[in-house]
């Protein structure tokens, strides 16, 4: 089974900044089609395609758009390019290979909700992508490809939490990137209190292809309930640490052994973490799961950003998870109690375990805290932070037990 390249079909064959190059391979036809449609029909078409958010939450894109009140005078289209999940770089790849598809996708969304202003929020770690996108926008505007639709590129400044859509909005507004409580949802009151659609790069980039080839075509690719392709990035103890675009019914085992070329240095597999650092660790017995949103959910994992971190048999799970808890301690915004204090104490306790100073009582406290963080935190960061801890205690408990005093 091989890759199925839709977004990345012309990777390295076209200049991603050039609208002319993109138009040569069929670009901006989708937008043309979208603009000829009634808004409602356009939203229905996207709904029918079954396209679900590629950022992590997996919400039906057309459905999200349908919540935007049509009569609001100002509306915004915001692209989330803050991919901060460790091990993830698929949005960078999509921009570096096919930036114009992202711009076209945003303009299609603009046509659907009646917005003429888009923002791309690019993470501060990618200043070169900011430059690329600014040039791409200029090229598209000069070619007249975007029509009245304008796109401004903003750069983040190193804050994982800004991948959360309301924190991202706060950051564009020039504030601390602290998530807002919901409701109101951005679709009703988002950027500068105007209705705002926030979608991920990959979600937007799918749209031109859906419009050109039709909703049925897209709905027929991959898993029925989470159709399309997904760009994955492989890291860790894997022979081919690179990116791939696969249909969503692709199996995890094939990702690792076929595309990934198996475990490095002939070692055996121990665990794989999918979806970035907030994802669950998956043991060997669950490798025959499809990567789509719901199949991953069924085994207590998440597709998330599509990052795939593979660990070989020699890896120390507790040490890796201790490092992961440090990540969340560093990236918590500090707004809500369960996350601000919880990520800090979780990190403290995991390091205690890792240093061989913890008792079984500590392990109980870890699980007690994990459950409350998951249920009581204000945003997805605090809710997801304990997942790597809980999933490894579930599947690799012996690794913890052997480190206890």
């Amino acid at each position: 089974m091989e890759e199925k390249r839709v977004l990345l079909e012309y990777a390295d064959q076209i200049n991603p900044e050039s609208a002319a190059d993109y138009i040569k391979v069929g670009g901006y036809k989708g937008l043309e089609k979208a603009r000829a449609m009634q808004k409602k029909d356009l939203i229905d078409e996207v709904k029918k395609s079954g396209l679900r958010g590629r950022g992590g939450a997996g919400f039906n894109a057309g459905m999200k758009w349908s919540f935007v009140p049509q009569d609001a005078p100002v509306k915004y289209v915001v692209c989330n390019l803050d991919e901060g999940e460790p091990g993830t770089y698929k949005d960078r790849i999509i921009c570096e290979k096919n930036a114009q598809a992202l711009l076209e996708g945003m303009a299609i969304c603009g046509a659907a909700i009646g917005s003429d202003q888009g923002y791309i929020y690019c993470r501060g770690e990618y200043p070169f992508v900011v430059e690329l996108l600014k040039n791409a926008v200029k090229s598209a505007k000069d070619a007249g490809a975007l029509g009245d639709f304008d796109i401004e590129v903003r750069m983040g400044a190193g804050a994982y939490v800004c991948g959360e859509e309301t924190a991202l909005i706060e950051s564009i507004e020039g504030h601390r990137g602290e998530p807002r409580f919901k409701p109101p949802f951005p679709g009703v009151a988002g950027l500068w209190a105007a209705p705002t659609v926030v979608n991920n790069v990959e979600t937007f980039a799918c749209l031109p292809y859906i419009l050109v080839n039709g909703a049925e075509w897209f709905a027929g690719i991959g898993a029925a309930k989470y159709p399309g392709t997904k760009v994955l990035t492989l890291t860790g103890d894997i022979n081919n640490p690179t990116y791939f675009e696969v249909p969503t019914d692709y199996k995890l085992r094939d990702v690792i052994y076929k595309l990934g070329g198996g475990i490095k240095n002939g070692k055996k597999f121990k665990a794989v973490q999918v979806g970035g650092t907030s994802g669950a660790f998956i043991p060997e017995e669950n490798l025959d799961t499809q990567i789509d949103f719901d199949s991953m959910g069924a085994i207590g994992a998440a597709l998330g950003s599509g990052a795939v971190l593979v660990l070989d048999e020699t890896r120390d799970i507790v040490d890796t998870v201790a490092r992961i808890t440090k990540f969340f301690e560093h990236e918590s915004c500090g707004k809500c109690n369960p996350c601000r204090e919880g990520t800090f104490r979780m990190c403290e306790m995991l390091h205690k375990v890792n240093e061989g100073k913890a008792s079984e009582k500590d392990l109980e406290n870890i699980l007690r805290l994990a459950k409350v963080m998951r249920k009581a935190s204000l945003c997805g960061l605090g809710q997801a932070a304990p997942i790597p801890v809980e999933s490894t205690i579930k599947h690799f408990k012996y690794e913890y037990m052997r480190k206890l005093v």
């Binding site: 991919e83 901060g84 999940e85 460790p86 091990g87 993830t88 770089y89 960078r92 993470r123 501060g124 770690e125 990618y126 200043p127 401004e152 903003r154 750069m155 983040g156 400044a157 190193g158 804050a159 994982y160 950051s171 564009i172 507004e173 020039g174 504030h175 601390r176 990137g177 500068w192 990035t233 890291t235 860790g236 103890d237 640490p241 690179t242 990116y243 973490q273 650092t277 990052a307 971190l309 660990l311 890896r315 890796t320 490092r323 992961i324 440090k326 990540f327 560093h330 990236e331 915004c333």
Partner: protein, 148 residues
């Protein structure tokens, strides 16, 4: 060196653009000097306390003076399992400073960072945001000596 007032003025029409102004200031000064922060706060109609809150929220913004070259070591999980800890030690040893510090000659600042999205070639460091791939403790002297 561009005047910070001009840098702030260049972003004046960017709605809510104080972070863009901070980026512009940092590009020239490598950090946000106090008077520049005060001026930016004023330009964007924000209290100084709030602007300071924004500047200290983001990892890549700094209100403290930093070196000419800001070296960041990624220590997120993929780089961690690829040996980031050993690389950090090698950098600290080479520069004679601890993480978070700046060398006495004001040339290098060493910071830790979370994932910078270059995981195809771990471990990764950046020097002034430019990524350097597949680093190892042995390669550190050669890599850093290129930045004078």
């Amino acid at each position: 060196m561009a005047n910070y007032m001009d840098l702030i003025a260049s972003q004046k029409n960017t709605k809510g653009g104080i972070i863009e102004a901070f980026h512009a200031i940092q590009k020239e000064y490598n950090y946000i000097p106090r008077e520049a922060l005060t001026a930016a706060a004023k330009a964007f109609g924000m209290s100084e306390a709030k602007a300071y809150g924004v500047a200290t929220f983001y990892s890549y913004l700094s209100v403290e003076k930093r070196g000419k070259y800001i070296i960041r070591m990624c220590e997120s999980a993929p780089c961690h399992v690829a040996g980031a800890d050993e690389v950090i030690k090698a950098i600290e040893k080479y520069l004679g400073i601890k993480t978070g510090e700046t060398t006495a000659d004001g040339k290098y600042t060493l910071e830790l960072t979370e994932c910078i999205g270059q995981c195809q070639a771990t471990p990764v460091i950046t020097v002034n945001s430019e990524p350097i791939f597949n680093v190892s403790p042995e390669k550190i002297p050669e890599i850093l000596s290129a930045y004078k």
